[in-house]
């Protein structure tokens, strides 16, 4: 997963950055004829979905949705059934023709493409994973994995090599000659994923790929996707109705309700400031310990000491902060250990001039900034000093006091 800092950059502030998928005012009205035209006209005037349905009898599936997805981003579209999310993902490769709005894939507009160009684009630039796997039942796992390449007309040897690689990625290489019907649901979806990976496209569209799987398998598949995403860095549009899944996977999340965009943002952003009551209601059930990371609850350390500090000064600062121990840092802010108030008091009594290395204890724990709270819950509050958050070089970037964790887990507006 990307670090919170990059994930927080909003699309508005990144105009110079390359955009992989750009959607502008995307709208889909199901049906044709005058009723559909009228419905489209009404939607342009901002009339809502239920009103349009009542007046024209036509369904407005997706209504004026705009968003950007950057290269390498795992972008989750989340909504309940009927929110238009499956329609939205099919608009991206024009499996469903948009009624209005524009789509650009890597700067290339989709609107003007003829059939042959569209097939070419679908084959080379994007691949798709389906809810019910959509494998060819009469072909082996290997042939299924090679399907995109076969359509592309890739030669036998290269096809086999890439198909094999993709099956290895999803851990199914030894089942290559089985038929899909002989595999479990989770394994079939691995084949679906391998088929998408083998095509080696930049964009991966995933339409509720894990909804049909049972929870344990789903968790495996989520972990697999995150691992592959770290290694392969594709641009993924992932559809789900499960907010916990969205929060776990998504670099950013787009919330869809009745075909309209409600909010776009990172998981923690949406948790911290839901756009409206609907979202607030929604996120109330999210397992925050899995969404929020140490980064989201970090505080600056209130008291730190250095080896050349006078014990009397340190003790004074400790007293002011109502703390009993402090981290001792070296010149590069790396944590050396912890000094306790009882030693400091003794040192002051004996007129010791410096905090000595011998005085330091190691009763503290450290964590990385991107650890989810579930991992650090066990560690906060175990020691007199708060949990230390360190970077890769061991440098102290902040601390996590127990109170900060508890505060973050409380749902705003609900008690």
């Amino acid at each position: 997963m990307s670090t919170p800092t990059t994930a927080r950059a909003r699309p508005e502030s990144a105009e110079t950055e390359r955009v992989m998928i750009r959607c502008e005012g995307l709208t889909k009205v199901f049906g044709s004829g005058p009723a559909a035209t009228e419905a489209l006209e009404l939607s342009r005037q901002g009339v809502g979905r239920s009103e349009i349905q009542k007046r024209t009898g036509v369904t407005l599936a997706v209504h004026d949705v705009s968003f950007d997805v950057r290269p390498g981003e795992l972008f989750v579209v989340m909504g309940l059934s009927g929110s238009g999310k499956s329609t939205l993902v099919r608009l991206l490769n024009r499996l469903i023709e948009p009624s209005d709005g524009t789509i650009e894939i890597d700067g290339r507009g989709l609107g003007g493409l003829d059939d042959a160009e569209l097939r070419e684009l679908r084959n080379r630039r994007m691949s798709m994973v389906f809810q019910h796997f959509a494998l060819l039942p009469h072909r082996t796992v290997r042939q299924n994995a090679e399907y995109g390449l076969q359509i592309r007309g890739v030669g036998e040897a290269e096809r086999r090599e890439k198909g094999e690689w993709a099956l290895e990625q999803v851990g199914l290489a030894e089942r290559a000659d089985a038929l899909p019907g002989q595999l479990s649901g989770g394994m079939q979806q691995r084949v679906g994923l391998a088929r998408a990976l083998a095509s080696d496209t930049d964009v991966l569209l995933m339409d509720e790929p894990y909804s049909a799987l049972d929870p344990l398998i789903r968790r495996d598949m989520q972990a697999l996707l995150l691992r592959l995403q770290r290694e392969l860095n594709k641009t993924v549009v992932f559809i789900t109705h499960d907010l916990n899944e969205a929060m776990l996977l998504g670099d950013r999340i787009l919330l869809l309700k009745d075909g309209r965009l409600v909010q776009v943002g990172t998981g923690p952003e949406i948790l911290a400031s839901p756009a409206d009551d609907y979202v607030a209601d929604f996120v109330a059930d999210v397992d925050r310990t899995r969404v929020l990371t140490a980064q989201d609850v970090i505080h600056p350390p209130r008291v730190t000491a250095r080896l050349d500090d006078r014990p009397a000064d340190v003790l004074h600062r400790l007293g002011q902060a109502e703390a009993t121990a402090a981290y001792v840092l070296d010149d590069d802010d790396r944590v050396l250990g912890v000094v306790h108030d009882d030693w400091l008091a003794l040192a002051e009594a004996t007129r010791t001039q410096e905090v000595s290395r011998d005085s330091l204890t190691d009763d503290y724990l450290t964590t990385a900034a991107d650890r989810p709270l579930i991992d650090i819950l066990q560690q906060v509050g175990r020691h007199p000093v708060p949990l230390a958050v360190v970077d890769d070089g061991g440098k102290l970037v902040g601390v996590v006091p127990r109170a900060a964790v508890l505060a973050a887990l409380v749902t705003p507006g609900r008690s």
Partner: protein
């Protein structure tokens, strides 16, 4: 109530057609005669003690021991009834008619599956073809092609086409739309989708259609005996006209035995994977591998 002379309009049309396209009719007649004669020669040329083992082994490969034993006994019984040559002649007409009916019916079914309008137009025509009394087919057939095997084959073919169309359409429409969508999503051409996705997945249904084609052809071919098509049809028709119970029973029994053989044989072809020895020979190794859970990263 004024009398609408519908029948005479049709008659005039048929007469006009006969004058307008004699070359085409002669060509059809020549081709059908050639194919039927060739196939009859192949089936009746070698003696029964060659053909019966061949058919029994084919039954063993496709379906299994049961059908093989049945084939052996049924055809030996036909031999002892002195109806071997007639049965083979009938089989030749049935096969020719079934192949032509399939060749016409399956593409029509594909067309109907892809175009709603085609389906709407075809449906009443198929109803007409299936419900018109079978004897009525024989009149224009004899009119166009005279007496003999050709009008029999033509009438049989037309009668047998509908199930090929219907079950092909049904099979293609029944293909999981998500799989077709996946093929689109990977950039497949509609032709590729038809060939690699829709037809293979519709194959069991199409094969069931072909099975029905053969059964209908067999039921029609006896009636075609009235037009002088030869084979078991002639035996049965002459038995009926002479009220010969013995010959009628024997001819009818031979038709039934042949029908059961053809039905079981083609029904086994329609199933996938095949149950017979052919698939057991082919799939011995892969079937042994037990499913093992994939390692999770």
């Amino acid at each position: 109530m004024p009398r609408i002379e519908l029948g005479s309009y049709v008659e005039e049309f048929i007469t006009w057609l006969l004058r307008a396209i004699p070359g085409v009719l002669d060509a059809i007649s020549a081709v059908v005669t050639a194919i039927t004669d060739a196939l009859t020669l192949v089936l009746t040329g070698p003696p029964f003690w060659i053909w019966i083992p061949v058919l029994a082994v084919a039954a063993l490969l496709v379906r299994g021991v049961g059908l093989a034993v049945y084939t052996l006994l049924a055809f030996l019984l036909i031999c002892s009834l002195d109806l071997w040559a007639e049965t083979m002649e009938t089989l030749a007409v049935v096969l020719v008619a079934a192949v032509i009916a399939t060749a016409v019916g399956v593409p029509l079914g594909i067309w109907a599956a892809r175009k709603r309008a085609a389906s709407t137009v075809l449906r009443p025509i198929l109803d007409f073809m299936q419900t018109t009394p079978v004897f009525v087919y024989l009149i224009p057939a004899v009119f166009f092609f005279g007496i003999g095997a050709v009008p029999g084959v033509v009438a049989t073919t037309i009668f047998a086409i509908p199930p090929a169309v219907r079950l092909t359409e049904l099979g293609i429409r029944g293909v999981d739309p998500e799989v077709v969508e996946a093929a689109h999503a990977f950039g497949a051409h509609p032709r590729q989708i038809l060939r690699e996705v829709q037809l293979p997945m519709a194959l069991p249904s199409i094969m069931a259609g072909i099975n029905q084609v053969i059964m209908l052809a067999l039921s029609m071919v006896v009636v075609a005996g009235l037009a002088g098509a030869g084979g078991l049809g002639t035996t049965v028709v002459s038995a009926v006209t002479q009220l010969d119970i013995a010959a009628g029973f024997e001819g009818g029994l031979a038709v039934v035995l042949l029908a059961i053989f053809l039905d079981r044989f083609t029904a086994a072809l329609a199933q996938r994977p095949l149950k017979g020895y052919w698939s057991k020979l082919r799939n011995r190794e892969p079937a042994a591998a037990a499913p093992t859970p994939a390692p999770v990263a």
